[in-house]
Symmetry: C2
Subunit: 392 residues, 2 copies
């Protein structure tokens, strides 16, 4: 159960022929009754943003933060496709709007796939059948979550509940994304629903905070995509809920989806959690952790299970944050390998054993202040290159 | 001929046992008569700078921009080695100073190799023999250039002359570097000499400009090293030369050395020149070119000879510079593949043939202003990972 777990939502997934292999490529998430409900979106900061990003942003503005449905397609990013791409995204919205009996600007659109390939208008005729197939329940949610996958190897779904004074609200979500995960998101789409009753501005603020604490704290290859989108619709059927409690549940769902994306990262063999403490501020800790997490040399070391902390220290020194080598220490899996900026005697077998595992923890203490931050990263191996060296 | 080509310089290279395989690991460049001459240095901006960087900076300050010799060692970076590392670098300078009859602070030091390994003090006893072996001429320059190599597969040397009104001055240089090439240099050392007569402040200014136009315009993996150093000594024996003419020759030598480093980059199969025109400013053009050049996905595409321009456009949009997709065009080897932000009809066989070569040209026009910039980059393939996944 994910996007249909919260009361008031239905979903569907199906194949319309965008993907050449005939697999599922359109997902619909809609309110059960076609009513437009409070909705919020966080989008890529890439200035080459794709047509669906531009159209969804405009629709959210025109509807003052309300939506009745979301349509997602996979297999073509509809990015760098010019005015024809905008028309394709608008037509998708119009088709879905007519199916759920809403206005076109009450439908949001997400697309993912290759950039620069004209969108195949001929598939639009088959979208209506997917819209008509929408239904409540687990099977519908699963079909939608599968329809947004591209190079993902597993479906990504998450669920959280908030209970307060006997009332209960639900937050559910689905996502796709296996590469280009980076600061400010990356080719990743996520659609969340909740049955909490919440006004659009509050919904937007809590979604932005949740994205910042989750999708913006993971990295695979440091690339920021043209299509990143996270959407959240709130049916209101469970009644009001304090914004902080709801926000925590939304963040929990986002963190789970983000972790699932890193775990499924293209060609990765390891997931490393890079933690920085003792920085001048949380922002500097996060910047330093990201610098280590995106370093090609650190990622190569992770791939080789090599505890070469010199590369970690070098990246910390190059991160543009307050740094003094002789105050710096580095640990792998809790075992200190560098202290006061020089090699520390340590149990090399224990470190080797930690590095050999799939989950690696690199902790860096800067000894400057009390700022803390963490970033989830992957290693860099042959698999990533093999998956990305050609698109054909 | 490189560092001994300019009148007044001698050099030497030899093995003292820093490298376990017994190959050459110490280089000396000195004035023929032991006299301290105007000298300038540009160093890494990494805050985890290595002991030799700290010692050389201090020596240049104490000598007010003069030096009699440079000692370079390879096989141990002497970085993250604490106070003992500073002592080792100082002792190296003192040993060389005693050999050439200069003051210790008139000797500069460069070191390259692994980070965080204590420097082997026991090798210091053998440095004197290398200093005594210093000599003029091509063989000595070659021995020095070979002694600074680490993962380099070829020696890097360059030479330029300035002729003016019948007088002639020479600029020669040697360098090492095959990975971690990045903004603000990276594990790369370069030592240049000239026989022009020039005051220390002028020498420093023209070296900084030359470095900015050369070493700072190449990238292999985006990592900034702890040890980067470029040094220039001027014997004055050829008499005065206008600063702009001398600066152009120094820049020419630096550009040649930088190009040699990219061509020898660890595990690379291609060198790509990423050119950006039509940016709001030269600085924005350079930032955009660097964003494309350091993109893992673009580098993977280069490795696979895949002309997937969507990734180029996406990186331009994420570069943080003024950008409008519908004004953007992209060419490979002069063949336009994207125009006004959408796919352009083109000769796909001609593009495929260009991408299959070792030298690839990616030109991006932003259509915003008249800013221009270019960065040399390498592809990312299995070789880079194989060379960097373990240090043992």
């Amino acid at each position: 159960m994910s996007v249909t777990a919260a009361r008031g939502f239905v979903a569907a997934g199906g194949a319309v022929g965008i993907k050449a292999d005939g697999s599922s490529d359109v997902a619909i998430v809609a309110t059960a009754d076609g009513r437009a409900v409070p909705a919020a979106g966080v989008f890529t900061e890439n200035r080459a943003s794709a047509a669906p990003v531009r159209v969804s942003r405009e629709h959210l503005g025109k509807s003052a933060g309300r939506a009745a449905a979301v349509v997602c397609t996979s297999g073509n990013a509809n990015a760098a496709t010019g005015p024809a791409g905008i028309r394709a995204a608008e037509e998708l919205c119009a088709l879905v709007a007519s199916g759920v009996r809403a206005a076109p600007h009450e439908v949001l659109v997400c697309q993912t796939g290759l950039i620069g390939i004209p969108f195949p208008f001929e598939v639009l005729g088959k979208v209506g059948a997917v819209v008509r197939a929408r239904a409540p329940g687990e099977d519908a949610a699963r079909a939608a979550a599968e329809a947004i996958m591209t190079t993902d190897t597993v479906r990504k779904e998450a669920l959280a509940h908030v209970e307060l004074d006997g009332s209960r609200c639900t937050v559910g979500g689905m996502a796709k994304g296996a590469a280009m995960l980076a600061p400010h998101m990356a080719t990743m789409l996520a659609v969340l629903t909740t049955d909490a009753e919440v006004a659009p501005p509050t919904l937007h603020a809590l979604l932005r905070d949740a994205v910042d604490a989750s999708f913006n704290r993971v990295t695979v290859d440091g690339c920021t995509s043209t299509n990143d989108t996270v959407l959240l619709l709130a049916s209101g059927e469970a009644g009001p809920m304090p914004a902080d409690r709801l926000g925590a549940a939304v963040a929990e769902v986002c963190r789970s989806l983000a972790a699932q994306m890193v775990a499924d990262a293209e060609g990765a063999t390891k997931v490393a959690r890079v933690v920085v403490t003792g920085a001048a501020s949380d922002a500097e800790a996060h910047a330093a952790a990201r610098k280590v997490a995106t370093s090609l040399l650190v990622k190569c070391s992770l791939n080789g299970a090599d505890p070469y902390w010199g590369r970690v220290v070098s990246e910390l020194g190059a991160a543009g944050v307050a740094f003094e080598l002789d105050r710096t220490s580095v640990s792998y899996g809790g075992i200190v390998v560098c202290e006061h900026g020089v090699a520390a005697l340590h149990d090399t077998e224990a470190v080797a054993s930690h590095m050999a595992g799939r989950a690696v923890e690199i902790s860096c203490s800067l000894g400057i202040g009390s700022g803390e931050g963490a970033v989830l990263a992957t290693d860099l191996g042959h698999g990533y290159i093999d998956e990305n060296r050609t698109t054909s």
